[in-house]
Assembly symmetry: C2
Homo-oligomer: 346 residues x 2
């Protein structure tokens, strides 16, 4: 089989690797049908986060189950499945309270000997906790496949930003970040009933998708000017909920600037260079701060029905579709921000 | 009339001062019937926070309205009223979203020429936003007066800790701090439906009151040992909600140690010497942090009915009752932690 190999900063290759086999009775083998490239893969690609050179990469995929270990109960060969960006057992105390991203036994694709998600097949640990079955009659609906694949990461992550900031019926929301996660945060906020959704974006093409997903106001500005425009538009109050979907000091500052007194910041951008938060910044204005890598496995059962019904469709985040053999170009295009998100059709 | 004057660190005096008169048409004059000493008054008394020497002090009181300005609509002479620890207009954008503590026109008792609450009378700014009427038939029920007075600060503050941490039906809660606010946080958590409430307290008398208010488990330990005991009691998970009711680095550490992954910290202890919060402390474990001085005026309409019905009774926090003339001794007793909270009966 073929799989994507990380060969160091800026170097992505497709190579022949051995087919995976079940090594533990809780595992499954999945033949991947769709995969994609994540903004967080670019941290490795850009040399900003470490990853083993010569190892697998990719953590968003869906596919058909080929085989299951003898302890697997909920998944069977032939099932169409989607997996979250970390594998989780579904049974530990953290999983039971919905914190599947922080599962005591979590495994990250492409590390510790586990396969990456950008390849033809993948060995799935803890299959009962990790895989979610999609009704098989949808398998030939390619549009639906493109709408379902974001459940593996970015849709759950955008939803997590909104949940962490307490978005609810009638909320005013500002989304900072117009990448795939930010756009999914717009869609998730709309789904949760937000009345007004500001999307901070200086890219017209991304702003257009944001509007389609539910953004009511595009703030085509940065920094202090973006904050000023949001304040003016909210009667000098600020928004109930600010969604941090980037992870830089500037995006955190924008969130603290845009949120109203007593409001909440939901943060899902992996922090890079973000300074500590002064307690006074929280305490003097009653600002709530929460966020993390998203417990996607916990959210899939809630979100999937709305995707299947067509109510929640973020497939537009995939601006390019390529075969696995072209994945190096896919990384390059995303790195250069030519594409929002690249879909790999296997 | 007589009023309490702050004469510098450790020096509290009762002096003769002019009776207040209405200076603006939105004001009222209240003859105080009950007042009390706050843990936060001790920050001035101990010289740890600045306060004008020779000025008024005290911010928790109830009493009878003597006069109102011509623009006051909701309050009339003869009304029995309670006031929050800051005056607020009730009409600005922040007040309208419930953030009365952060009212655009807020006034703090004893500053900017406004009277303190530890005296015989007080001039109340923005009376319509600041004063809350108590049914007059309760006036002769001294026990009820002791149960209602905490609405001015500590009961609303304990409630704010619980609300900020998202305490709800079935929550597990750890309260860090066994002062009046911590004990009120226990009562508020119980009222909101918490299933299990840990109170960290090494003082038997305070722990007893905590148990009466709803604490299910007393953790008679500090620091790492307190965290260990809470972890053991929760199956190595931690609590859903940790309520920070002290404001020191040690109490913050206890909260971060006790809360489970994905849980929330509600903070109401005014931070003193608390270091900035590393973003990683929030992000790696999906911990929510929120808190501030409490929007007590926002909470009084919700809490008062439960106090009046007897369902919510924190009057036991008042461990001593004194006349105004003995207030210096009251401060001394609280400073030495001989008393939890001292009531002043005028």
């Amino acid at each position: 089989m073929k799989a994507t190999i990380f060969q160091g900063s800026g170097k992505i290759e497709v190579r022949e690797v051995p087919d995976p086999v079940i090594q533990n009775p809780d595992e499954a083998i999945v033949k991947i049908t769709y995969s994609c490239i994540c903004g967080s893969d670019l941290w490795y690609y850009r040399g900003l986060s470490p990853l083993e050179v010569g190892g697998r990469i990719g953590h968003e995929f869906m596919g058909i189950v080929e085989a299951v270990g003898e302890n697997v109960k909920n998944i069977k060969p032939g099932d169409l499945v989607v997996a979250p960006f970390v594998a989780s057992d579904g049974t530990c105390p953290e999983c039971l309270v919905g914190q599947t991203r922080l599962c005591r036994n979590f495994k990250f694709w492409g590390t510790q000997g586990y396969d990456g998600g950008q390849g033809q097949k993948v060995r799935v640990p803890m299959a009962d906790g990790t895989l979610f079955v999609i009704p098989k009659d949808k398998a030939k609906d390619e549009h639906m496949m493109r709408a379902l694949l974001p459940l593996s990461d970015v849709l759950g992550t955008g939803h997590h930003a909104a949940v962490s900031a307490g978005v609810k019926q009638g909320s005013t929301v500002a989304v900072v970040g117009d990448g795939a996660v930010g756009l999914c945060a717009v869609a998730a906020s709309k789904r949760l009933g937000a009345l007004r959704i500001f999307l901070v974006s200086t890219h017209e093409d991304r702003a257009e998708i944001g509007k389609k997903f539910g953004a009511t106001d595009i703030i085509a500005a940065r920094g202090e000017e973006a904050i000023r425009q949001i304040k003016v538009a909210t009667g000098d109050l600020g928004v109930d909920c600010a969604l941090e979907c980037v992870g830089t000091p500037e995006s955190w500052d924008a969130c603290f600037g845009a949120v109203r007194k007593g409001g909440n910041i939901g943060a899902v951008g992996v922090p890079h260079g973000v300074a500590d938060i002064p307690v006074s910044r929280i305490f003097t204005a009653n600002i709530g701060v929460k966020g993390s890598g998203a417990p996607v496995a916990h959210y899939i059962p809630e979100l999937m029905p709305d995707v299947l019904s067509g109510k929640l469709d973020v497939s537009d985040i995939f601006t390019k579709t390529i075969p696995l053999s072209d994945i190096a170009q896919g990384y390059k295009d995303m790195d250069e921000r030519k594409e929002i998100k690249v879909l790999i059709k296997l």
